[in-house]
Point group: C2
Chain length 100, copies 2
C-alpha cells in the first residue's frame, strides 16, 4: 500500500536537510518505512532529471564521496502539491472509514 508514498516521504525528508542515499534509507527506516537501494537510486535520478532535486558531492571521512541531494525550488513547489494530495487522501480515507 505504501506504493507511491515513497516519493513524498523522500521529499519530506529533503525539505529538512540535504541527504545522501544511505542517510535517506536510514532515516526512513527510523520512521518505519523500508526502502531498498534498487528502488531509491532510480527514484533520485528521476527526480533529479525532472528538476525537482539537485545534488552536490561531499567528501566523507570514511569512504568515497557522497551525493547529497537537495530540493530545488521546483521540488519545493512539487512538494507543496504532494502535501495537498496527501491531505486529500486523508480526507478520502476518513470519509470512507467514518461513513455510516
Amino acid at each position: 500500500m505504501r506504493k507511491g508514498m515513497l516519493e513524498y516521504c523522500i521529499m519530506l525528508l529533503l525539505r529538512r536537510q540535504p541527504c545522501y542515499a544511505n542517510d535517506i534509507i536510514q532515516r526512513l527506516h527510523e520512521a518505519q518505512m523500508i526502502v531498498m537501494e534498487g528502488t531509491l537510486y532510480p527514484l533520485l535520478s528521476r527526480l533529479k532529471r525532472d528538476g525537482l532535486l539537485g545534488y552536490e558531492w561531499r567528501e566523507s571521512t570514511q569512504g568515497p564521496p557522497r551525493k547529497y541531494y537537495v530540493l530545488t525550488d521546483d521540488g519545493q513547489q512539487a512538494l507543496d502539491q504532494l502535501d495537498a494530495s496527501w491531505e486529500e487522501i486523508l480526507r478520502t480515507v476518513n470519509i470512507l472509514k467514518i461513513k455510516e
Copy 2:
C-alpha cells in the same frame, strides 16, 4: 500517489455494504477518489480470486443484472491488516512532517 490506496478504499466501502462496480465508482468519486472501470474490474476479480470478496447477482429495475460484491471473513481480516498498514503510514508521514 493514491496508487495502492485503491484496494484499501474499496474494501472500506464494502465493509459498510455490498456494492456493484458503478456503485463503487460513484461512491469513491463522492469521497474524492477517481477510479476507472479498467482498473476496478480486474481488481475486483483479483480480490474475488484471492478469497477476500464474494459476490451475488441481483436484478436491476433498469438494465442487466449486477454483481454485488461483499467482504468475506478472510476479506475482513485482510482489511484489519490494511487498517494497521494505514495507521503505520500515517505515523511515518507525521514523523517526517513534524521532525525538527
